[in-house]
């Protein structure tokens, strides 16, 4: 009896060690690609990331040097346009889902938002191509921004809804019991309490679309030079990387690596910022 139990105990220990071992290996496998990607980007791109890269236009084929300033600025412009479209609609839609509406309608809307989140991003490019580019007869920053903005909407909507739902009901009741109107309660109490979470959702959505290439292929199109009007084609970092990477020139390959390094670093910084935001104490809500 005694011995049997000891034997049983040993077998359980082995199983436990096995399980945690497998979990550890899986965790390492998750991190490995990130490490590999970053390692390769640094090896191949770091040498080309210099002052010129951030200040000069792309050099013609064969000429050494040049930069991607137009693509960096273009990406920021596209993000701004996307934000103007995606942030208000996403945030207000998320607040609606959390605070208003009937349970049945909301579950339908939630399902649709989840479906939209799963739509391949190139689809958005095609949709905007059909709706905007063909109609206005030209690629433009507006079209690119719109495509990115449309991708943002369901992302922000869902994160906003989730963090707004996390705000304890006691705060809503407390405000309403002071005779504060419903919408003021939502704006000044609920959204303020959830603001960190809402901002986090917005930043993560921006980081996500910042690296999107496919929806820009036939909307923003790309531009080797400065974009002088938002109704003209515009350069974007991911597009420039794509163009350079599929080119046959070594110089351009190096530039593509550098661009990818800058892009990944930028997205990495946004994620660090999000970490920083969500870490602070104060509001109990993320």
């Amino acid at each position: 009896m005694h011995l049997e139990r000891a034997h049983h105990h040993a077998w359980r220990k082995i199983k436990s060690a096995l399980a945690s071992g497998i979990a550890f290996v899986s965790a390492v496998l998750v991190i490995t690609p990130l490490a590999l990607v970053f390692f390769h980007l640094v090896i191949n791109g770091a040498s080309s990331v210099n002052w010129d890269f951030f200040t000069k236009l792309p050099a013609p084929v064969g000429a050494v040097g040049g930069g991607m300033v137009n693509a960096i600025v273009g990406s920021l412009e596209l993000l701004a346009i996307a934000g103007v479209i995606g942030i208000p609609i996403g945030v207000l839609g998320g607040v609606y889902l959390a605070e208003y509406g009937s349970a049945r309608l909301n579950s339908v809307l939630r399902f649709l938002a989840d479906v939209l989140n799963g739509v391949p991003s190139i689809t958005w490019g095609v949709v905007v191509y059909g709706l905007v580019v063909l109609r206005f007869k030209g690629f433009s920053a507006y079209a690119g921004g719109l495509a990115l903005g449309l991708i943002m909407i369901p992302l922000i909507l869902r994160t906003t809804e989730e963090v707004v739902l996390l705000v304890p009901n006691g705060y809503r009741e407390a405000a309403l019991a002071l005779g504060v109107s419903r919408w003021k309660t939502i704006v000044h109490i609920v959204m303020k309490t959830a603001s960190k979470g809402i901002i986090t959702g917005i930043l993560l959505a921006l980081a996500r679309i910042g690296g999107e290439t496919a929806p820009l292929l036939f909307t923003a199109f790309g531009n080797r030079f400065w974009n002088h009007s938002l109704s003209e084609p515009i350069a974007a970092l991911p597009l420039q990387i794509f163009t350079y990477a599929i080119s046959p020139y070594d110089d351009w390959h190096r530039q593509a690596w550098a661009g990818a390094l800058v892009l990944v670093t930028g997205i990495f910084c946004v994620n660090i910022l999000v970490r920083f935001l969500t870490r602070g104490r104060g509001a109990p809500v993320v």
Binding site: E173, A174, L178, G179
Partner: protein
Amino acid sequence: MATPEQSVTERVERPPQPLESAEPAPQLTFEAKNVSIWYGEKRAIENVTLDIASNAVTAIIGPSGCGKSTFLRALNRMHELVPKTRMDGTVLLHGEDLYSKTVDPAIVRRRVGMIFQKSNPFPTMTIGENVVVGLRLNGVHNQKFLNERLEKSLRMAALWDEVKDDLHKPGTSLSGGQQQRLCIARSLAVEPEVILMDEPCSALDPIATAKIEELIHELKAKYTIVTVTHNMQQAGRISDYTAFMYLGRLIEFGPTTKIFTNPTEKQTEDYITGRFG
């Protein structure tokens, strides 16, 4: 004030009214007549008729689920926040129908404040901001006025001396009992006529509870107070009138001393003596 005439068969026995025989009839703040409330299909309270005297503390006691909180919330229309609520009957506040179609619930709640079981100072605001938030969000921006009201409310809530140097600190940095008094100050700042309290001490330790009870005693000089409590000793200590509810019905209502020493109903007696509940 139009209450539909009830048929004799429907008529529920009206519970004894407080001080019916006493010399000056107390002034009434609330007159609730035949109030029934449903959450969806479920009836939470049934035909509750109850008058609440001004400048007095009325306690509502009863076991969990007896509808006492629902009734309390019917007095400032907070129960309407639950979807699919239906209400029948009338509630008059100083003779005005709270449920008239032209009445904005926000105005009702400005006149009838509420303190909750769990203290809930807004986590994004300082102590000072918490107190005046009701005024601010109702459009008052005169800083001098807000400062005066801030001090006055905190003094009335017996919190001023403890926090006057920490007004810029987060409201959530206070202890549980202080947070609850902060919530009382926040409620007082909009100058309501009535303060409803939904088990205001159930999350507090005995010392913090004693402070709140003392505060309730002081506040009744200026305000009408209706409190729901699980704690019968507390009801006995702080209230002038006590209503006992059971299974959604008002079983008995009267002066606290009478309810506790000489209840008319068997169920009241059983509950108060601890035979159930």
